[in-house]
Structure formats: C-alpha cells, structure tokens
Symmetry: C2
Subunit: 312 residues, 2 copies
C-alpha cells in the first residue's frame, strides 16, 4: 500500500518504520528540517526493542510536497495544533481515493480534516503504542501496543477493516472498533485530568494524585466530559476512568512520571494540546449549552502559563 | 485606653507602636516565641518612616495569658487560619465590656469571633495601612494609610465612633463606615483574583495580568463574588474593582510585586488564606445555592499546591 505518514515524530516514525519493514511503500512528511535532513543523509535510525536498524525511507518537508504521486492512505500524527496546517500542505498528494487515518490525541480532529476531504474518506483511531525520539532522525521504539479505528461515515466498515488489516500485517495490532468515539473520549477524559493538573501544579502523577483535593478536582473535570459526551450519545463510565487515572498515579505504575503536557510546556516551553482536550470540551459545552467551568478555567490557566513561559 | 494587639506581626506592631506612642496602655500578644523574646529583651525596634525607635512594650505568648487584667479593646491581626485558636487563648482578658476590632483580610471572620463574645462587642474593620517585619522584634513602617470600621450589631454606632476616634488620635486615620461589609467584600474580591492566580501560575501581578486569558479568569471569579455578595444585599461594582486590579497589575504601580499569598506559599512554604477569600465564597455559595466553580477550583488548586510544597 502507498502510505504517507504526516507528522514523522516519534510515533509517526514507529508507524512508518513498521509499515516499511512489512513491505509497504512508505514516505514520511514532516516540518522539522533538522530531522528531515538527518533522515535524508543517514536514513532513519531505529532502536527497535534493543536492536539497531537503519532504513532508507523517503521524507519530505510538508511545505515542499512536489510529488507526482497520490496517497492511498495518509496516517496523521501531527500535534493537534499543527493539524490544520498539515492538512493544507497535504493537498498535492490527496486524490478522491485517498483515505486518512487520524491518530491524534484529543477531540474534534475530524472536524478539521473534514474541511479538506470527504467525510467518507476519514477514519478515526486511538492507539496505545508509545515511542520516543533521541535526536533528529533517531527513534527508540520499545514495548508493545495496539490501536483501534473506525470509519466516521456509516457504510465504510469494509474499508476500515482493510486499513486495520494492513496495519496488523505490520505488527501494529490494529482492529476495527464499532465505537471509536467512545475510546477517543475516554482517552481524552483520562488526559483531561492529570495532564493539566500536573502541568499547572508542577508535580508528577503520584505527587499530584496524593494531594488532598485531587479527587474532587478530577471528578469535577470528568463530570464535564461525561455531560458533553452524553450529548453526543457517548456514555462514559467515570468509575472505570477514575480507576484508570488512579493506576497512572500509582507510584508502582506510571506514578513518578510527568505527563506529556508537562514535558511540552514546563520542560520544553512548547505550546500544549489543551485546546484539543479540555478546551474541546469547553467549545462543545458552549455549542450544546452545557456549562463546563472546570474545563474553561483549566484551559485558560494553561494558556496563561504558556504565555508566562513564552511557549512556542 | 487599655488595648491588646492579638497577633503582633508587622501590622499588629504598627498599630501597637502608634497607639502606644499616643499614650494608650498597649500590650502585644503573639505566638512566635523568638519574636516575643526579642521584644522582651531588646524592646520593639521600629523604623518609622526612616526614624529609629525602640520602645518597651509588654508582650505575652497567647498560650500563657496569665494576666490579672481585662482588655477594653482587642485589635485582632492574626492570620485568618489562626483566628479561632487566638480567640480561645484570649479568654482570660475578655470581659463583658471588652470590644474586639477585627482587621483581618478575608471574609466571614465575624462568625468565628461570634462564638467567643457577644456580637454587639464585635467591630469589623478594613485597613490599607501596610507594614513589614525585618526580623524578630523588628519592624519597618513606611507610608501612610487609613481604616474604616463599623459595629456589626445596629445601635452601637456611638461605640464604633469612639474606637475610630481613639485610633485616629494615634494617627491611624480611622473613620466610621456605614457599610463595612461592602469594603471588606470589595477588598476580598480584589485579593480573590490575582492572589490565587499569581500563586498558581508563578508570576508577578504584571506578568500574570499580561497573559491572554487573565481578563476572562478575573471576571469569572469576580462574578462569583458578586453573586454571593448580592445574596447578602451587598452590591459590588465589578467595573470599579476590575480597574483597581488593573492598577495593581500596572508595572508602574504594584505590577512587579508578588502578592502576599505568593510570598506565603511559594517563598515561605506557609499555608495560605485561600479558605477565607475564594474558599469563603465557595462555602457561602453552597449555603445560598449559588454555583461558584471558579472559586471552588481555585481553592482546591491552592490547597493541592500547599500539599505539594508541604506548607505548614
């Protein structure tokens, strides 16, 4: 299959690497020139579960997509706030037949993609694979994972299953989901609590989870996710989600870990994805007439912190 | 007049010093033993608008108030969370005639004092005097100020005026107010915005005031103060209060200043007065059936930060 990976950071490189190794015709697209140059000069260097690989794989700057070729499948892995720009830049490789699989964290990305190609070509997914970058052109891929995906327009289940099969053939453990929005919401709800709180309070999952008020705050936030999801006929189970959050806060599991938003903002002074997590709930709440003060306030606080740290 | 200052930190020392200099029989009461010892050994050392004073003034530990004497007036200047303990400790010097003037920042202190003496003996005040401590037994008193005060039970206006006169005779610019609760609420509303936000976001007034979301957050918080105050027939003028806040955020005025809550928690790892500012609005909101999610969330966030910093 002719596959383009739009956003070839750590996760994009994992998917690109595994799909390439499985015999697909894979190209990477990214906006980070140092990373692009490194891959052009030295290939993509992959530490895959401890084993070193170096593969030659085409990579393009998204601003210079002068390719006489259309994608069969584009897997989108940008940061949420870069999605719209990426979709614009992808125009040269999109045809009527091009399918897009969106694996971004957060809510509402289908509404952005929808502006650039027909909804029946859009597939939404949710993955628990992980990946890390160690430098331009270099990634470290450990552990196992899986993903779920679904067509967003009814009637395209066959196509969704075909994409899942292609990914699974590359070892990516993809399967068709008949309720992808539920999974996406559930993940966003998990991320919508500790991500913002740890970033704001400058603590790791275990430390923030152990504060006297964390439970109240987490539940207030989760209840807003539930109210908004309810309106879209998605029924979140908050007891289950809260147990998940507690697991992440457990010092023996992920507890001494700083969530990705903390790393983005506090460590690297980069803008966060808050607008696509709590901010998405705020926007949907406004649209549906559902008050979401905790998500509103948390979103504004994180933006204020971005301003204070001059995040780019 | 026989006056006791309950809570003889910076502000208590200012009032004690000025009232003592004006010929009143003033004693200090405090709980900080190093400060007490310093004043017993070396007197209270005062830098008063640049001039050095050293005065001998009685000081007692609140836990050891073995005095055969009743107060005519007690001026309370503790931290809000120490008020209840102080009131318990003051019992030996309180008679039926003892009047208490409460000058603490924040809301709802009269309900605490009310447990220990009749409401007609309680006077509520609000001051803009400032003061600083430079070490145990040493204070620095610069600038000018004023205060307003009022009886909390109607019919005691004469007594309130007498207290105001006694304070004014000592240069404290006190005057009777016929709406002290309005002033107290107004000050709490000013403090209820930037105090919590600067503490949480780790920025000074100017920096936090300059963030893209500060205006929205400030207004949301102020609107909760207004809703709760309305229920008590106190009508806050939010445009006026917002202008006040902008003034404090102005780099040319107080803008590069960190508010007292920031100094308490972030610098000194001491517990904050949040429960008597935003937390008081939350409790009143619950009682009156008025939602106060911004004050609830801000109060919980500050408590979480106290836990993370192991504040005492």
């Amino acid at each position: 299959m002719k596959i383009f990976i739009a956003g070839a950071g750590a996760m994009g490189s994992r998917f690109g690497f595994m799909l390439h190794q499985a015999g697909n015709e894979v190209s990477l697209i990214d906006g980070w020139q140092d990373h692009i140059n490194a891959i052009i000069e030295n290939g993509l260097e992959v530490n895959y579960n401890g084993q070193e690989f170096n593969i030659q794989i085409p990579i393009y700057n998204q601003k210079d997509l002068d390719i006489n070729s259309k994608a069969e499948l584009i897997i989108v892995f940008t940061k949420a706030m870069q999605l719209d720009e990426m979709m614009k830049d992808l125009q040269p490789i999109i045809s009527k037949e091009t399918k897009i699989l969106c694996l971004l964290n957060g809510l509402g990305h289908e509404d952005v993609i929808d502006k650039y190609l027909p909804a029946e070509n859009i597939y939404l997914g949710n993955t628990v694979w992980t990946a890390g970058m160690t430098g331009p052109g270099k990634v470290k891929l450990f552990g196992t994972g899986a993903l779920e995906l679904q067509n967003i327009v009814p009637g395209f289940e066959k196509e969704a299953n075909e994409i899942a099969e292609a990914l699974s053939s590359a070892g990516l453990n993809a399967k068709y989901s008949d309720d992808i929005k539920f999974s996406v919401y559930q993940k966003a709800c998990v991320n919508g609590t500790m991500n913002g709180l740890c970033t704001l309070l400058d603590g790791n999952m275990n430390e923030v989870g152990a504060t006297s008020t964390s439970k109240t705050m987490i539940w207030k936030i989760m209840e807003e996710f539930r109210a908004v999801a309810d309106f879209e006929n998605i029924n979140l189970d908050l007891d289950y989600i809260y147990d998940k959050i507690l697991e992440f806060n457990d010092i023996n599991k992920l507890g001494n870990h700083y969530p990705s938003m903390y790393q983005d903002l506090i460590i690297n002074h980069r803008k966060t994805e808050i607008d696509y997590i709590n901010g998405a709930i705020s926007r949907k709440g406004t649209k549906y007439g559902i008050p979401t003060p905790y998500c509103d306030f948390l979103t504004d606080l994180i933006h204020a912190k971005e301003d204070l740290l001059d995040a780019k």
